[in-house]
Symmetry: C2
Subunit: 294 residues, 2 copies
């Protein structure tokens, strides 16, 4: 997806909030805003939004002098989600359709973000959001059928904390079908996105093989990814991509891709025909498909 002009003020707002999450120093907040503003006139709208966010976070790292400014936020998100994990397992096991419930929880977990709404979400509210969310039954059926007919899957993660919910969903995938699952993390810390260490923290290695995307972009932008990642992307049976960033990075790629995310801005909500805050589980439309896919 290309960048919309609307993404520019949003990114500026996001950068300010991110700077505030790193430090209380208002001079630094202002420096971040100024540096972002200086980028705007040169910004190519041909870039994908996460490519611009990548530049923004490079600036934030540079200005704040922290290579992993969200280390503490990330550790807390993983710890909070892990504390909830036994309850999440029980909710899924007791559900009428455990896979559907695990999907809803994984999508609600995408609310753990430093994005448009960050800081507003409690783990308790996530469970409530998940159980009250709606996924189109045809989309879910396509997802379930795709799992049943797949052997090799890559699951492209997004945020720390959220990955506990992803682990829960991967456990359910294994119950539907014996699968080879690869979980993709970011190469280096960027925003609160999960890296290999974060994934190991939540025991992701017990349910999937962990690989890095090869890039510090806050999304799997294939042109920046490692050869291993790109080859896997083009050879597996199914790709599960979490979060808006991965949708923005992969919406024009070819493959059996399912996007699982919460719509966090009007541009994305419009593209999926939902409201801001709604759950999205949607298969990327391929040339041979029609109907209710994107």
């Amino acid at each position: 997806m290309e960048t919309y002009l609307d993404c520019i003020p949003c990114l500026l707002n996001h950068s300010l909030k991110a700077a505030r999450a790193v430090t209380d120093d208002e001079d630094i907040h202002r420096q971040v805003l100024n540096a972002m503003a200086a980028m705007i006139p040169q910004l190519s709208l041909g870039l994908k939004p996460p490519e611009i966010a990548q530049e923004a976070y490079r600036l934030i790292r540079q200005i704040t002098g922290h290579s992993d400014p969200f280390h503490k936020v990330k550790a807390e998100a993983n710890a909070d989600a892990l504390a909830l994990y036994p309850r999440l397992v029980k909710i899924v096991v007791d559900a009428e359709d455990p896979l559907l419930t695990a999907c809803k929880l994984a999508i609600a977990g995408n609310s753990i973000d430093l994005g448009p709404e960050f800081g507003q979400v409690t783990m308790e509210s996530l469970v409530e959001t998940a159980l009250g969310s709606h996924i189109d039954s045809r989309d879910y059926q396509r997802f379930r059928n795709s799992i049943a007919s797949s052997y090799r899957i890559i699951y492209i993660g997004d945020n720390t904390g959220e990955i506990v919910f992803d682990r829960l969903l991967i456990e359910q995938l294994h119950k539907v079908k014996k699968l080879d699952v690869v979980f993709v993390v970011r190469e280096r810390p960027v925003i609160n996105d999960a890296t290999r260490d974060d994934a190991l923290d939540v025991g992701m290695d017990k349910v999937a093989r962990i690989i890095s995307s090869g890039s510090d972009a806050p999304a799997a932008i294939l042109s920046q990814c490692s050869r291993e990642m790109v080859e896997l992307f083009h050879s597996v049976d199914m790709i599960i991509a979490k979060g808006q960033g991965n949708y923005e990075a992969l919406d024009e790629e070819t493959g059996n891709i399912f996007f699982l995310l919460r719509a966090k801005c009007s541009i994305i909500a419009d593209q999926f025909g939902v409201k801001i805050g709604d759950a999205v589980l949607k298969q990327k439309k391929s040339a041979s498909q029609a109907g209710n896919t994107v």
Copy 2:
């Protein structure tokens, strides 16, 4: 009120929306964003938000080549509100407390804006919003008492369309007490703010004497206002200031000021202890006052 860092992304977003309201030419939208971005590093946070908006709209006028880019939007807003006027009169006359209902309608009329939410409001929804809104009874009592003890009032207007609702409220003020009311408009077109011509369009001269603020700022910034306006401001018994911009311009001035507005961003909502979208009718706290005033 000084400018917060949060105002900067918001202003950028607002400028983009304003540029879109003027033209469909995406190159111009981009030019406006770029010009605004170029302003950011030099921007003094000591300026009031409407002073920055004033600069932004000068840029928009310059880039789009229109001296009154919102002429059509304004004419439509006045026409739509005038079409509703007979119904508004009936709602007020039939109300248990006509002055309170007229206050609520005048505040709801402040939703007609090119600000954070513009384009989302229909005249029908305004009436519904007004009748469902809440004003603190002590604030209202102070307002009512102040009217009863005043002889000379200035009423500082805000947006075109909204001024029909203001006229309705001024009619009710005259029913409480025989008053000398001066209605203040902007000197020249800025955003969708009301000028003398716009006020004449809705018959404001039948209920008040119309004067210009003497400035093209989208708010009554006293340091930019005409001598007549400033002298009136300091000599009248009561000042009614409509909208966020006038609050941002006047919150540090001395006088018996009542702010009537809808809270359109979290900064203002926080200052009044309300939620975004809520109605605000609040007296400015003076040195001799205490309690529920700002």
